[in-house]
């Protein structure tokens, strides 16, 4: 395939995506529900690619997504909720006055959340990532729960367990999709830069990477902080999409969604992760009927109750890991050459079978 053909192909894909979003956004096709699921998928794509940066590209094992997301979500909630609603939202204890005085535009609140998340990531990463063995999973899991509990307690800042509602919502699909394009784009550029190569070297063989002059601690922390930054951005978008947040949303089970996405998409594949984000987010919505009570011919099926969805989900994850451990894309990325090769392979196979059939007939 020539370069020109590839560029045309890519152009068509982007154009198709833009047209589709425009059609959805202007209610030509789909409905509010579909729009919401798509928006959620775009946000999940940001968070999943961030997670993949650490887990798939740097070879670390972090499970802190929910915690970093919560930071971003509450940053947006706290700083963008309109002043006139504050007293009615914080009705048990009023919001700390110094905090109530700071009202920020959405983008600024997103960035604040991202920066706080990155700083906290460094705080955890600095002691933990120096150790050779992988304590990061435990530390991040613990961190994620601590954040949730702390947010439940900080009544005057986060409104505790009640959470914050009436967050200005997202009015157009261009916000989550635009943010996804920018955030994922930046992460792709980072992965392709010499720092990204250093991340991959650490994933492949940390002893060799260190012997090649790569400072392990620095690069692991960098990857972890960047990942946390974008996870928080995703969390902030999530808060704006839902227009309400409370700490319960950020149980560590939330992290498993993203884990499933990157395992399905391929550890170390950005395009795989993006595709899987849409499959899983859509699939999770579709699986929702497992959580509803179900009765067949008047008999209530007892296992159909809230929580079953996660059981089904876990089974899917297990099946995936057992039989399809490389996911959709493995470490590969979408490429026209790849598509072309697949096409040639299928064509070859078809030819061979038809030749065989002819041979058999003769």
């Amino acid at each position: 395939m020539s370069r020109k053909q590839k560029n045309i192909g890519t152009g068509i894909l982007i154009l198709a995506a833009v047209v589709l979003i425009a059609l959805f956004d202007n209610d030509v096709i789909g409905n509010a529900y579909v729009k919401r699921v798509l928006n959620l998928a775009a946000i999940y794509a940001i968070i999943s690619v961030s997670m993949n940066l650490v887990n798939g590209f740097t070879g670390l094992f972090s499970l802190g997504q929910a915690g970093f997301m919560a930071i971003g979500a509450f940053s947006v909630a706290i700083f963008t909720v309109p002043e006139q609603y504050i007293s009615s939202i914080f009705y048990i204890e009023p919001m700390a006055p110094w905090l109530a005085a700071i009202r920020l535009p959405f983008v600024a609140a997103l960035l604040v959340g991202g920066l706080i998340a990155a700083a906290l990531a460094l705080l955890i990463g600095y002691p933990v990532l120096r150790l050779k063995s992988d304590y990061l999973a435990i530390a991040t899991l613990g961190f994620s729960e601590i954040i949730r509990i702390v947010f439940t307690q900080l009544q005057t800042i986060t409104n505790g367990a009640l959470g914050i509602n009436r967050i200005p919502g997202i009015t157009t699909m261009w916000v989550p999709f635009g943010a996804a394009a920018v955030c994922i784009g930046i992460m792709v550029l980072l992965i392709r830069s010499s720092y990204g190569r250093a991340f991959k070297a650490i994933r492949e063989d940390d002893i060799a990477a260190e012997a090649m002059g790569i400072n392990l601690s620095f690069h692991k922390n960098l990857s972890f902080a960047v990942s946390s930054f974008f996870t928080a951005i995703g969390g902030g978008l999530y808060a704006a999409l839902l227009t309400s947040v409370d700490p319960k949303q950020f149980y560590f089970t939330m992290t498993y969604n993203f884990l499933l996405i990157i395992v399905l998409g391929g550890m170390g594949s950005v395009t795989g992760t993006v595709i899987a984000s849409f499959i899983i987010t859509g699939g999770l919505e579709w699986l929702r009927f497992f959580d509803e009570p179900l009765s067949i011919m008047g008999v209530n099926i007892p296992i159909f109750r809230s929580g079953l969805r996660m059981v089904v989900f876990s089974i899917l994850l297990m099946v995936l890991v057992l039989f399809y451990s490389k996911g959709l894309m493995g470490q590969k990325e979408f490429s026209w050459d790849g598509i072309y090769r697949q096409y040639e392979k299928i064509k070859g196979r078809l030819k061979r079978t038809s030749a065989k059939r002819k041979g058999g007939a003769a």
Binding site: S194, K200, A201, A208, E210, A211, M212, G213, I214, L216
Partner: protein, 282 residues
């Protein structure tokens, strides 16, 4: 011959109750090719790991071009448990250990006994990655491509290096798909990309047949000249060692039992007893 490149003084490396290296002293001068030999388990790889900063020694010090890169002495619990040579026990009182990446930056590169390539990356990426350490761009300017000149230069140099080492035609292959001999070459290429002054090779001819070993001998000579290297290598193939080395150190059970020119070593009774006598053909 000029200055001393590497200086190892009274280095002992103890793991629990195992003294892998016991009071080892040696030096490598600029431009030399030095071999470290000894039976299996003698502590050769451990010595390399101490020199490259993978382990901090239990006692003794290592200097690169006169600069202290690691030093230690038995203290705390180790003082009681210390099983190494007692003579040098109180000789040192400094503690220093640079991490392996810092030591590589100073100009020491190495290969590994059991090849450690970046398996899923291409040949080109393997070598290019080794250039990261010398690039100046921070992660933001690298992400946004502001360092494109440097990046282009690194890519160009990588291709030149691959051409020079006969790996250019496989540059797009995944490292783990290369035949064994080429993987060894690639590991050396990657080490050279860090622009070392001292190259440490841990059994570069392991698993090679006599013809490949001969080629490797010529190859090491050539890169030594082309890249102005000092070479320090561990090797079991005696033909290669005897042909190429300026001097040889012999290690047995962690202790240095002989040093000298190839002729001297070949005629040394202790070495013959300890090593050459029991040497098995690979």
């Amino acid at each position: 011959m000029g200055k001393t490149v590497l200086e190892v003084n009274d280095v002992t490396m103890q793991f629990g109750g195992v003294v892998a290296v016991n009071n080892l002293s040696l030096h490598v001068e600029e431009g030399e090719i030095i071999a470290l030999i000894g039976p299996n388990g003698a502590g050769k790889t451990t010595a390399f790991n101490v020199i490259t900063g993978v382990y901090a020694p239990t006692n003794g010090q290592v200097k690169f071009k006169g600069e202290l890169i690691s030093a230690n002495y038995p203290h705390g619990q180790m003082r009681r448990k210390y099983l190494g040579e007692q003579e040098t026990l109180d000789k040192y009182s400094a503690k220093k250990s640079l991490t392996p990446d810092r030591i590589t930056k100073l100009g020491v590169a190495r290969t590994f006994q059991n090849i450690r390539l970046f398996k899923n990356l291409t040949v080109f990426e393997n070598v290019l990655t080794a250039k990261h350490m010398r690039s100046k761009a921070n992660f933001l300017s690298a992400t946004f491509g502001l360092n494109y000149k440097e990046e282009r230069k690194n890519r160009q140099e990588t291709d030149e290096l691959l051409t020079l080492l006969g790996l250019y035609d496989v540059r797009g292959e995944i490292a783990s798909s290369l035949p064994y001999g080429k993987q060894r070459h690639l590991e050396i290429a990657r080490a050279l990309a860090t622009r070392p002054e001292l190259l440490l090779l841990d059994e570069p001819a392991a698993g090679m047949n006599p013809q490949e070993t001969d080629e490797l001998t010529a190859f090491i000579r050539r890169i030594k000249e082309d890249f102005h290297l000092t070479v320090f290598m561990i090797e079991h193939h005696m033909d290669l060692v005897m042909e190429i080395s300026d001097r040889i150190y012999v290690l047995d059970f962690g202790k240095l039992i002989a040093e000298g020119t190839p002729e001297e070593i070949q005629n040394n009774q202790r070495v013959i007893d300890a090593y050459l006598g029991v040497q098995k053909d690979e």
